[in-house]
């Protein structure tokens, strides 16, 4: 196997390590399958690029990039951007759900206290000096 540099070997091994770690996280149920797919695909892609110099060269030429290292950086950055955007979308939805749950909890708690008679049933303000 032909390698361009020692760095490439290190990057390729790191990618394999990352892929294994992602699988381990899924196995321990600390990462849901949904997220693991993106991570596994990207780390496997990084490993393939790292180990296959001809492929890396071909892609580099096809994209008109001058230096192979830039190709790796390009894909790394593209993946990181995609992942961040994906997470932002997820966060937005989580935030929305969180809002709804907080609201529903507050309303249900109000009704529970109302049923127990802990507070005035209606919003009519009592006259000043009136006992509770």
């Amino acid at each position: 196997m032909e390698f361009l540099s020692r760095t490439q070997v290190i990057a390729a091994l790191a990618a394999v390590g990352l892929a294994l770690y992602v699988l381990e996280l899924v196995r321990r149920r600390r990462l849901s399958e949904e997220y693991s797919l993106l991570w596994v695909v990207s780390s496997v892609a990084a490993a393939v690029l790292g180990f296959s110099t001809p492929l890396l060269r071909a892609i580099t030429r096809a994209l008109g990039i001058l230096y192979e290292g830039s190709t790796v950086f390009f894909f790394g950055l593209a993946f990181a951007t995609a992942m961040l955007l994906y997470l932002s979308v997820k966060l937005s939805r989580l935030g929305q759900e969180n809002h709804t749950l907080t609201r529903e909890l507050a309303l249900v708690r109000f009704e529970l206290e109302e049923l127990r008679g802990d507070r005035p049933a209606m919003a009519l303000p009592a006259a000043p000096g009136e006992p509770a």
Binding site: N98, H99, T102, R103, L105, A106, L107, R109, F110, R119, P120, M122, A123, L124, P125, A126, P128, E130, A132
Partner: protein, 234 residues
């Protein structure tokens, strides 16, 4: 149909200092109105104060912001059959004496949202220069977006009819209850109108818009206003 039922929604986040005076004033100047305090994740006993005043209070476990609190108020009002809701700040800025004036155009069916405006008429309120620039800017943005002149886009003293509440109880631009909300409402076909009111300076507690946010706010608000225009009308 009987007389329209009106609910005054008071969103309150850590307003233990101002709330007693606000609730007392409401009772004194607007005794006929039902009041709901939405305690927005307060840690200073705001909810207990509302209870001590015999005012129903719905408490968020965490802070959702003014928009989130208002949305909870809408849900509560809709479930209990109210026809109109008025948003009134807990900090004493909004004088309940203006409630009838604010409600009038909504009750007459002339508009769906009435906005209590500091600037619609000469009311004696004079904002600092930086703020006046911001106010003019947002008024211009809203005018461009909806083709209507709204002078006080940041006013938190507003009345909403049941049609607005029915939509907003589920779908509300919660993070941006100012000009983006007005643009959003106008684009949904709701009619906005301004009512001149006087506002006071805050009496105690912190404003939702603290110094640190005063730089971030115009940026955020402007961008959010533009984003609202991109949204698919839903």
């Amino acid at each position: 149909m009987g007389a329209p039922r009106v609910l005054v929604i008071v969103p309150a986040h850590d307003e233990a200092e101002s709330l007693p005076a606000t609730l007392d004033e409401l009772r004194r100047k607007a005794p006929g109105f039902d009041v709901l305090v939405v305690d927005d994740g307060s840690r200073d006993g705001t909810a207990a104060i509302a209870r001590a005043h015999h005012v129903p209070v719905v408490s968020h476990a965490v802070n959702l912001g003014v928009g989130g609190a208002l949305q909870t108020g809408f849900r509560w009002a809709m479930a209990r059959g109210y026809d109109v809701a008025v948003q009134l700040d807990a900090d004493g800025q909004h004088d309940p004496a203006h409630l009838d004036a604010l409600l009038a155009p909504v009750l007459r069916g002339e508009c769906d949202v009435a906005i209590g405006s500091r600037y619609a008429a000469h009311t004696g309120y004079r904002a600092p220069l930086a703020r006046r620039i911001g106010i003019a800017l947002f008024a211009a943005v809203v005018r461009l977006a909806v083709g209507q002149r709204i002078t006080d886009t940041t006013s938190g003293y507003r009345a909403y009819d049941r049609k607005v509440m029915a939509i907003c109880q589920y779908d509300f631009p919660k993070d941006f209850p100012d000009s983006p909300l007005l643009i959003d409402l106008a684009r949904r076909g709701f009619r906005l109108a301004e009512v001149p009111v006087e506002m006071r300076r805050r009496e105690a507690g912190r404003s939702f818009y603290t110094l640190g946010r005063s730089l971030y706010y115009p940026y955020k608000n402007l961008l959010a206003s533009l984003m609202v225009l991109l949204k698919r009308p839903g």
